[in-house]
Subunit: 426 residues, 2 copies
Amino acid sequence: MTEKPTDTADFGTTRRGFLRASVAGSALAVTGGAGMAQTPDPLITTVQPWAQSFGDGVDATPYGLPIRFETDVVRRNVPWLTADVTSSINFTPIHALDGTITPQGCGFERHHSGAIELSKDDYRLMINGLVDTPLVFTYADLERFPRESRVHFLECAANTGMEWAGAQLNGSQFTHGMIHNMEYTGIPLRLLLEEAGVQPEGKWILVEGADASSNGRSIPMEKALDDCLVAFKANGEALRKEHGYPVRLVVPGWEGNMWVKWLRRIEVGDQPWETREETSKYTDTMADGSARKWTWVMDAKSVVTSPSPQMPIKHGTGPLVITGLAWSGRGSITRVDVTVDGGKTWHEARLAPQASDKALHRFYFDHVWDGSEMLLQSRATDSTGYVQPTKAALRAIRGLNSVYHNNCIQTWWVKSNGEAENVEIS
Amino acid sequence: MTEKPTDTADFGTTRRGFLRASVAGSALAVTGGAGMAQTPDPLITTVQPWAQSFGDGVDATPYGLPIRFETDVVRRNVPWLTADVTSSINFTPIHALDGTITPQGCGFERHHSGAIELSKDDYRLMINGLVDTPLVFTYADLERFPRESRVHFLECAANTGMEWAGAQLNGSQFTHGMIHNMEYTGIPLRLLLEEAGVQPEGKWILVEGADASSNGRSIPMEKALDDCLVAFKANGEALRKEHGYPVRLVVPGWEGNMWVKWLRRIEVGDQPWETREETSKYTDTMADGSARKWTWVMDAKSVVTSPSPQMPIKHGTGPLVITGLAWSGRGSITRVDVTVDGGKTWHEARLAPQASDKALHRFYFDHVWDGSEMLLQSRATDSTGYVQPTKAALRAIRGLNSVYHNNCIQTWWVKSNGEAENVEIS
């Protein structure tokens, strides 16, 4: 059974008395009417200190940071997951965010040998291999090429990877936070390749970074000439150091490991390089021990970010905003369904506007919670018609040996006290 | 004469040898081919220090800031413009940004009595006046209402106001930087008004903030019920202190002064309040001394952000990216034209994708500069068909006494040495 989404355009009129009717004492009538008798609230009956003095001047924060009350909305790593912080992962606090844009300051980052400091003056990008003219670009050269700006998500292939073995990490930040979504500005990679002149036998490129890991990856020429960007800005401003300043590769819809940071070199070749990062890592080990290679695309996926283990319901029964993110490496999200009963009944959620393909979409489902337990899930459908699979369906095909490319439907068990846990249901 | 825009999809093939053909020594061939003989570049011929050691670990910056090389890309105020920094303006560094999203940390802010610190626990929003049931909402109450996420620009009515008297401040940050563009998440104001129950004679609302200035403004009910948001997030995360944490009003397309920060109270009335902020301020003084009132909408406007006085051309002749921003408070931008000869010849620019109405649009025009002087302008057309006027056309109607609502075509005089100045042309 599926319901059509409730448009907020109709919400007010159909649910007049939204909070008053359903949540005693939550929205408080202050005088007469339908309101409840109550103790006067000094926050509204007396003039508060912040209304009697000056606040900060405009020169207090030339570059602003979050207010001190929000210090827990930060990237976090999982210390036991990797041996060292220079080859580790910082998860986006998606549980606490809304909308779709991820600020650079709290956006997922992963390094293989630490975030290096590389100035624009010291930056060079080489294109060599099967090209008519090997080229080296300075940063200033790159600024002269035609550029584009598009919003795209970057998702690590290992995002949600712990779920292959069963419900583990307790919180959407840790199960699904190896992702960010920014407005990237850069040069179509195609233009730089055409500048060098790709020879007819040039079918692949190798991309590598200027850091010690170099993180080399092979990309088929068709993708390189399609929608990749050699990017220098994210969300309007220069890339942050940890996001690859001054230049990174953007490979829309494909696994984050290919979005090489501190991009140093692009070699054109006639076959893939079979680097460490595409053989011993970033391949999918199947049930029989064989490895699926070249699984670059991040398939359609979604997750409820709130309520969730890090975002329990604190307000009791009644109106409850259920919200989350959905994305597809193959295009746009056309529909998200939400269930509160483990998949017996699905409800179509509302989607916020999004101009770019291969970008995060925000969904909302406005629910009236009766206080009973919920098995909360979301299910994305993308513009190719593909529907996000259950964990069981994914395991039936891929087994339990994988680390990467787990796009299963996620389940949160929301208890009557509002707390939520990461669980599996059959 | 008008050219169609050059789609980057054709750019590479039609301009093969883009930099090599036109800019000697800029993109350097490294071996043979069409390249030039040159001194080996140690940055590409030797292994650099950053490729031989570890960079920062992922726990180095739980909340990241810009790299130290970008410390000049910050908000700036103009000390002589206001008496004190608690009632002043911080301009967005639009000259140095690209794309459309403005990070909160460098996004335009203006206070009337300083940025106050107001916690979620201390936050209350009252709705009173001509309503069935006066209500007070806590922050937790607001989180239970249906919400929307949309990208919108906020422009101060005084943006570009100095230009009424002639070309003055030298730099797009100062002429056009009283603007930002964020993805705002919040509750449709309509839903909160419907919750209280607007009485038939309720035709206006007064909105005021919790700071000492309170900054009261009247808004007609039609707009209040249309697209306004009671917002708590911007670009995904909580509003920064200086942007009104925890709650501000979003009034899409209308002057920024109405986007009340630290939103405290909404009163419903049968006529406007004629507050200080809509009588002695934020009205438009005409040539005869009379005042235009209720000029809320920000009309279609654009500006070239680079090259510009703060962004001189440093690379000599040849390929040059001309880029800027365009926006309209009445809808979307359908077209931007660029001229390099003071309006004799116009060229249609490319626009980056944008899902929301009343949001910034990024435009690009790829030019080949011959090194001669340019009179650089951009001209926006919006979805109503309205075309951004010249300064002369605007003055003919509005005179020279105004401070607010100057949406004239801006001119940068780019000299042969690449430097640019703010000028007027007749």
